[in-house]
């Protein structure tokens, strides 16, 4: 089985890919884990081949030769030397594995933070992700943008992990191992991506009915791309007179109780920030592509895409739906 797997190309590609394989690391912590895993696989593989080989040997060599082969074999009750041998060898293996592992735990968890590191606060919600960049004054949603890190002068991203409700888990396999997002607790995780592109992941701790659709998209940008993205996110919402009717619907139909749009009266914190809704590739934390039709249907009836989600259907009529969709579609 493992041979089949190892033959699969997608498992081992360089750089970002749609299959988030842990064997295609693109960031320092994921890389360290990958190398450790190869070491461990070699040792456990050797153990398996040896012991399973012995079992296979025993099955063939010591089987009953035929129904008439009924004399009892020599009864061996035990041997202290043999018992000692197969106790000492596993102890030695454990010592080696433990020391290698402990070293890596300290290297990853207690890594000193470089001055050039970017700080992002991640807040897990049922069932979406909030990304705040405190020093840049940005509040992003569901899609995380970070700068690529040059191994010569690293610019990793340090994530502070918080939860607004239940336990979630932030997992983007190609970038790092997962760390849980625990309410009433502060956890930390760092990534140090070496290749630009889009990395995918998702929540990895059962958090309720739509745990399966709490997806993650991490865009690793070149420094120029990142600067452009930051500049845009720092702007207040686009204000377009043509969609004033939709904005009016948004502000009077209770949307602003949960959602915020920078530069307007909407300052709700319970749901995602919508200031730059159109800058995202997906809606509802990856549940569907960000198209006008999907957006309209989402507002009309969120359960179409993500049943059990916490956003209620506000019973808007067709005209209100068209107007508010048109308004939100201008929020780039």
């Amino acid at each position: 089985m493992l041979l089949v797997f190892f033959a699969c190309q997608t498992a081992f590609a360089e750089g970002p890919q749609s299959t988030p394989s842990i064997f295609s690391p693109a960031s320092t912590p994921a890389n360290d884990i990958y190398e450790l895993s190869l070491f461990v696989l070699t040792i456990t593989g050797a153990i398996f081949v040896t012991v399973a080989g012995l079992i296979a040997f025993v099955i063939f060599r010591y089987r009953q030769k035929g129904p008439d082969d009924t004399t009892e074999p020599a009864q061996i009750y035990g041997s202290t030397q043999v018992e000692l041998a197969w106790t000492v060898i596993p102890v030695l293996i454990v010592v080696v594995l433990f020391l290698t592992t402990a070293r890596m735990i300290f290297a990853i968890q207690d890594a000193p933070k470089p001055k050039a590191a970017l700080d992002v606060t991640v807040v897990g919600h049922q069932f979406w992700w909030e990304f705040n960049y405190p020093k840049l004054g940005i509040r992003a949603v569901n899609e995380l943008h970070v700068p690529v890190s040059d191994p010569q002068s690293p610019t990793p991203t340090y994530l502070t992990l918080l939860s607004a409700d239940v336990i979630h888990s932030f997992w983007v396999p190609q970038l790092a191992g997962k760390t849980d997002v625990v309410p009433n607790n502060v956890n930390k995780l760092w990534i140090d991506p070496h290749h630009t592109g889009l990395y995918v992941g998702q929540c990895a701790q059962f958090c309720g009915v739509q745990h399966a659709l709490m997806l993650l998209r991490v865009y690793v940008d070149t420094p120029e791309q990142f600067a452009t993205w930051v500049k845009n996110q720092q702007q207040s919402a686009v204000s377009d007179e043509n969609v004033a009717a939709g904005r009016h619907v948004f502000e009077t139909q209770a949307c602003m109780n949960c959602h915020s749009i920078a530069g307007t009266a909407a300052t709700g914190r319970y749901g995602p920030d919508l200031t730059h809704l159109m800058s995202r590739a997906t809606l509802a934390s990856g549940a569907m592509d960000n198209t006008k039709d999907n957006l309209r249907e989402w507002i009309r009836h969120p359960d179409t895409f993500k049943t059990g989600v916490l956003m209620p259907a506000m019973q808007l009529n067709d005209q209100q739906l068209d107007q508010v969709t048109a308004y939100l579609s201008t929020l780039r």
């Binding site: 089985m1 797997f5 997608t10 498992a11 299959t19 988030p20 394989s21 842990i22 360290d32 895993s37 461990v40 398996f48 012991v51 399973a52 079992i55 025993v58 099955i59 010591y62 009953q64 009892e72 020599a74 009864q75 061996i76 009750y77 035990g78 043999v82 018992e83 197969w86 106790t87 596993p90 102890v91 594995l97 433990f98 592992t101 402990a102 735990i105 300290f106 990853i108 968890q109 992990l161 239940v166 336990i167 997992w171 191992g177 997962k178 760390t179 849980d180 625990v182 309410p183 009433n184 607790n185 992941g201 929540c203 990895a204 059962f206 009915v209 745990h211 399966a212 990856g286 059990g308």
Partner: protein, 563 residues
């Protein structure tokens, strides 16, 4: 025929039965009021098999839903209930019941006793477990619930806080989960006390502790572990109910409570619990492998010491389920070490089984087929366990399909295979008839193939980033093909288990007569008729070695010359 000694069904005492209504009612009643360890053992096993089939149906439902991305076979709400119930059922209603089924039936027979130490406690424990399970399943229909599927628990079998608090689970799902397991928990405590008391206090003359069959040692160890480990679970469940109904905030993070404390409580129970489930499987293998290799178990003292050692060490490894929750690096490192240490006595056991088979004359009847597969599969499961104990690697593997593959390798590949071996081995003693070897071999090979198709392949989506507990997955993640193969293997296993069920029923009426000792075995249960009479032994046995029947069959070369 108002006789107080009814012929045991299927026995070869051929008194013609008259199926009058009174006769049937009295027969049924004899099962309800029994305190006989043999009848209670059979009741436990039948209960376990029933819930194996129910839990298996839940598994098949899961695999149908996951065979393609975006299937609509089960809604997310129902899917979340089904996988929670699958885990809860398999651990508590199948796992915890099979162990007491085998232990209750066999321990008194193996130690030459008339019954367990506390027969009425035995019955009470069974019925507590029985009704606890019914309470859990009543949740599917009890009350309107919120999503139309009743209140069946939908919080994952480990019921992490604060998802289980009133704020996030306003219905009654966590209440059914907690209450039913508190009830079955009392059943477990009673049964464990009984096993320990019987093993240490009811042995026949000459049976010192070092002559106790390994089966009894390992079951007593598992029961001791169960006694210690069920308490934190019950305590946590009571605290959860206090949070939900009496204004407590133990795990209520919105009021300063701790979600991490729930995780500690649960896994302090949860990890030793899996050893409670697997040790009795080892116990079965420890009896089957020597008999079918025609050799005494190699290194009896080491096997006993390793089993007890596993129980002790397993009490100190629980936070390897929490490597990602945010413990300090020193905390993580400690649990890496303790988890790896438990691998040492475990590997000693594997080597002792290997050495038992070495130099033997192995007969591959159905019980031995299952036990041989068990040894290889358990080896592999232990190695993936080592991989998971490597905390940084676990930061990738935790909560992924790799973990599911690992623990199903133990639960199915080790435990279920040993249970099947044990049933094929002891069914003749319980019923007086052999199970069909032909159907047994069909069962074995189909189940082996289905098991490997599902659980070997299941490691792969985990390595490719697929988390667990998800009712669907993205089509472009490269997981679809692997999931399809996994599901197909599940269907093959289902067919194999159906063949097993057919075998159990058919052989009860048409199986070959077994006699006292169809396998030419060596422990005391094979000295009784099949099935044994109510009193087990007409006169108390006296033993002089670990294998009393070997001594009788080989008076020129008895074990006590060498032990």
């Amino acid at each position: 025929m108002a006789d107080s000694t009814y012929p045991i069904p299927g026995s070869l005492e051929t008194t013609p039965r008259r199926w009058s209504q009174a006769a049937i009612l009295e027969w049924l009643n004899s099962w309800v009021i029994t305190v006989d360890h043999k009848k209670l053992g059979i009741l436990y096993i039948l209960y376990a098999i029933f819930f194996l089939l129910v839990g298996g149906a839940e598994a098949i439902a899961i695999r149908i839903q996951l065979i393609h991305p975006n299937m609509h076979f089960l809604s997310p709400q129902v899917f979340n209930r089904i996988f929670t119930m699958h885990g809860t059922t398999m651990v508590f209603l199948f796992g915890m019941t099979y162990i007491f089924g085998f232990a209750n039936y066999l321990i008194p027979l193996m130690i030459g006793a008339r019954d367990m130490a506390f027969p009425r406690l035995n019955a009470l424990s069974f019925w507590l477990t029985f009704f606890g399970g019914l309470l859990l399943y009543y949740s599917f229909i009890g009350g309107g619930g919120l999503y139309g599927a009743g209140n069946a628990p939908d919080v994952m079998w480990w019921a992490y806080a604060p998802l289980t608090e009133r704020a996030f689970s306003p219905g009654h799902a966590p209440d059914y989960w907690a209450l039913s397991l508190i009830v079955t928990g009392f059943g477990t405590i009673g049964a464990s006390i009984n096993v320990i008391a019987t093993a240490f206090c009811m042995r026949c003359k000459g049976m010192t502790l070092m002559r106790l069959p390994v089966f009894v040692w390992v079951n007593a160890t598992a029961s001791g572990l169960a006694l210690i480990t069920i308490t934190p679970l019950t305590a946590a469940q009571v605290m959860l109910l206090i949070d939900r109904y009496l204004g407590g905030h133990f795990f209520d993070t919105q009021a300063g409570g701790s979600a991490v404390v729930w995780a500690h409580f649960f896994w302090i129970f949860g990890h030793p619990e899996v050893y409670v489930l697997v040790l009795p499987a080892f116990a079965i293998a420890n009896e089957v492998i020597p008999v079918f290799s025609r050799k005494a178990i190699f290194g009896y003292p080491a096997v006993v010491a390793a089993s007890v050692g596993i129980a002790f060490v397993s009490l100190g490894v629980w936070a390897h389920h929490m490597f990602t929750i945010g413990m300090t690096s020193a905390g993580n490192a400690f649990f890496v070490l303790s988890t790896m240490l438990v691998g040492i006595p475990t590997s000693i056991k594997i080597f002792n089984w290997l050495a038992t088979m070495w130099g033997g004359k192995i007969r591959f009847a159905t019980p031995m087929l299952f036990c041989t597969a068990f040894v290889v599969q358990f080896l592999l499961a232990g190695l993936t366990g080592i991989m998971l104990s490597i905390a940084p690697w676990d930061w990738q593997l935790h909560n992924s399909y790799f973990v599911i593959a690992h623990f199903h390798y133990i639960l199915v590949g080790a435990i279920a295979f040993c249970i099947f071996a044990g049933v094929y081995y002891w069914y003749p003693k319980v019923t007086g008839r052999m199970l069909s070897e032909k159907l047994g071999k069909w069962h074995f090979w189909l189940f082996l193939i289905g098991f490997h198709v599902t659980f070997d392949v299941m490691h792969i989506p985990g390595l490719l980033g697929m988390p667990r507990s998800i009712y669907t997955y993205e089509a472009d993640r490269g997981w679809t093909g692997w999931n399809q193969i996994v599901s197909i293997g599940g269907f093959i296993q289902a067919i194999a288990v159906l063949i097993f069920a057919v075998n159990l029923i058919w052989s009860y009426f048409k199986g070959k007569e077994a006699g006292n000792d169809p396998w030419d075995a060596w422990t005391l249960e094979w000295a009784t008729p099949s099935p044994p009479p109510a009193y087990n032994f007409a006169t108390d046995p006296v033993v002089t070695s670990r294998r009393p029947l070997w001594d009788l069959k080989h008076p020129d070369d008895p074990d006590w010359h060498y032990e």
